[in-house]
Amino acid sequence: MKWPWTKQETELDREISFHLDRMTAEYMEAGVSEKEARRRARIDFGGPEQIKDECRDVSRWRWLNDLGQDLRFGARMMRKAPVVTWAAAISLALGIGANTSIFSLMELVLWRSLPVPRPEELVLVNWQARSFPQGLAKGAAGSMFPGGEGDDIGDFFSLDAVRKLQAEASGKALLASYNFTERVSCSYDGRSSVADERPVDDKFFQVLAINAAVGRVFLPGDNTPQAPLTVVVTHRYWRDHLGSDPQAVGRRLRINNRLHEILGVLPEDFTGIALGDPADLYVPIRQGVWISSVTGINPMTDPQFWWIQMIGRRAPGTSAAHLQTFLDSVFRTTWTGTPKNPNLNLRMRLDDGARGLGALRREYQNPLLVLLALVGLLLLIACANIANLLLSRATARAKEVALRMSLGCSRGRLMRQFLTESALLAGLGGLLSLAVASATTSLLVTLVPTNEFSRMPEMGLDWRLILATLAASFMAMLLFGLFPAWRASRMDASPALKEGSGSLGAAARSWWTAGKVLVVCQVALAVLLVSAATLFARNLQGITQQDMGFERTRVLLFDIAPGESGYSGPRLAAFYRSLEAQLRATPGVVSAGLAGIRPMNIGGEWEALHPVAGGEKYQTGVNRLSPSLIPTMGIRLLAGRMFVEADQQPKSTVALISEDLAQKFGGIDRALGARFYLGDEAEGTLFEAIGVVASAHQTHLKDRPLMVYLPLNPARTAVTVIVRTAAPPAGILPSIREAVRQLDKDLPLIRPLTMEAQINEGLKRERMFAYLCGAFGVLALLLSAVGLYGVISYAVSRRRTEIGVRMALGATRVSVVTLVLRDGLALTALGLVLGTWGAVYATRFVQKDLLFQLKPLDPASVAASVILLGTCAFVAALLPAWRAAAGDPTVALRQE
């Protein structure tokens, strides 16, 4: 295709050659030879190239012509200084790429709306209180987390309350109830798999405004205890496990050994009600088989057992505030007891539900903001680098600029030339930064901790981010390109032309100051970033290397749920006994034990403990164990005795307590034999401490709770099996699988993990921090070293004559090196002092909850970063200093 400007060019050619030909012909008619005729025609006509140029000057496409010229010239300049070009482009790419990926992470975790119609109408129904509503709730399952004003927020309600709230809210809002997801074993068409199941009521999909892609979602008739068992599957599950077969709807899926009719398949873009929602299957909540294993309460009938979560959709025209007031008044009528705590201040609370459940958001809000601040600093360092590089280049070109200006180049034209070059760099940097961003974002998603089976959505770079990235790089480049351009154009041409390379012109001297300031800033910012990196690295190290109270190597753990596959009563108890025996007999297995709650899995079971002797009550973690579990975990027995087989019965009243807890009873000796209630004082169960064991971490590495261990109730439907092996567990897992298969070939091992892997699951946040900050720190170090190197070597090149004179007059190499180093190190020292002061100040904003056993102001971290940066700066300054001293003074002097 022909562009209008190329067309113009050929037309101009044709037009002028026509004219020349006619003139030539005329001279030939007058009898002149062709050669002479052509010569005369040219003279009469004037230089065709100049004429063409004048024509181009008035053309509509002149700017394009100029731009092409500028670009060609810019590209040539870039090729002539490849180090500067690539250093600037890569600085920009790293700075902006890192920002883009942190932003896309924030968009994903903090800001993205649920993929449902009109998400802004959704509300999360919670309550808020000073503490757990004792007297109103006997037992509970759900999450409680700190909210504003020193209150806690809870998300669980009794079935009774849910029903009343749903009925009263009609017209103002549609409320639906749901529950936590639970791991289940499924089998379909002869293949078994593990899936996550979420119990929901028949309003759930109506609230979300989601319809089935195939089949249907739940209707009111499905959510009754009498209705046939049904299930709605996600598109993902349908694709991965049902072969995307539309005929699967109407067939039966076996879930925990009970057949469920598949009612429908959800649309592909529906990914659940939280980021990384693990739910694969949705079942009616009223058909749940869930019964409290702690208290034996039936949550379906007991109004004092709070266990259901709620989500709602406001009717158009109902404000959230109005709905909250209204639901609060209804909520108060559902209480069936009197609060024991007079300052309870229990009230309803509605939270914005557009972005789904907030657990991940709560955990990541502050860390992400800290990361954003750090990555912002990184961008500043990169920008300082670019400014420095462009400034030094502009100064190096002072002569060229002066020449152009004295030849009549306008100031505007000169600025345009410089800006075009900056834009060219920005384009290069922008493209590179997109590559950096797309490489790092996919890496970042893997660092986001969710529970390990959650499916994170693909985090592609969306076009808004790409546009923002490109806009940011152009902004940065133009900003930093404009100053040198403006400075260059302001320059007085004559001194620059007269001066040799050795002397310092006026412009050069003022650049030197600007460059110095930039380097000091860079070093100061780098101190901040590197101390953050060392701080979080030390934090992670501190967490992972502490004494956990148990042996963590060569331990394998997995869950198994025989009670959900038809085992019960004596058969279930017998199964557990033979499971332990079978495992112990497996080659490579040292010992095996069973636990009610999976260790190091966050969450856990919590009870209030009241000593019979009176005094304070304590919140303790509770786990139930088979007798061989304590030795298998490698937890030491300090006093008393372990559990024995005979303790393993539902009415058992013996308990082991941790050393920490024993201290609360007044020491190990006094704790032995002490008696206490677990649960509500009046209705709690009486236990006796028969032994004291070493304190050990139970739920995660950051917290070591007071622990009570009770004998495992053999009627428990699911347990965690913990196996200590003689060799690395991965090699023994197959024989362990085989051992379980011999007992029951249909029982899957759920989540088999080594203890190390299990621990790491809980440390994703710390790991993400340590990795990202480490990466930022290394980048900051590199960028500021490059900046310092650039400034010093530039200064050296400007002082070559001076150095030559000094050396000719007898200065030694050492004194020259010292001279140059002194400048660089003075800058670095100033930067380090400022940076340390900044780091001390900035750590006030690092939230305590990000750190473990470390104060935000960790002297060792700051010291380490200062030493690291000082060394880097020394090397960066030494290289040009060495080169200056190694030069032959006569060469330098002759250049003048």
């Binding site: 101009l12 044709r14 026509f18 004219h19 012909a25 006509f45 004048e54 008035v58």
Partner: protein, 114 residues
């Protein structure tokens, strides 16, 4: 008397071009010939300098161009006046004539004894 190109008064080239193509479209060469002829060989425009002027006038929308077959069977670019070119021509001719008349008056003013 021979006027050199530099003697051509500033701005008069545009007027000459517009006038030359007032009645029929011409290409650049023919224009140069015609200016030479009608000025009785007094005004010799440096032929090349026509083209920047033509392009500038075209850009201003005073003239328009089209490719047509010339006498020599070759394609040439013919320029013709647009409506606004015609108005511009009338204005410039008027201005020029007033200017020329004023110069004339000055030159022919009778000697006044002081």
């Amino acid at each position: 008397m021979d006027l050199k190109r530099s003697d051509l008064l500033q701005g008069t080239l545009d007027l000459l071009i517009l006038k030359t193509i007032e009645h029929r479209p011409l290409h650049g060469y023919a224009m140069a010939q015609r200016i030479l002829e009608t000025s009785r060989e007094v005004l010799t425009v440096q032929q090349g300098s026509l083209y920047p002027a033509l392009h500038r006038l075209e850009r201003k929308g005073l003239i328009t161009a089209e490719w047509r077959e010339a006498e020599s069977k070759r394609m040439a670019k013919f320029y013709s006046l647009t409506a606004s070119g015609r108005t511009q021509l009338a204005e410039e001719m008027d201005q020029w004539q007033r200017y020329a008349r004023a110069i004339q008056w000055v030159l022919q003013a009778p000697e006044v004894a002081s």
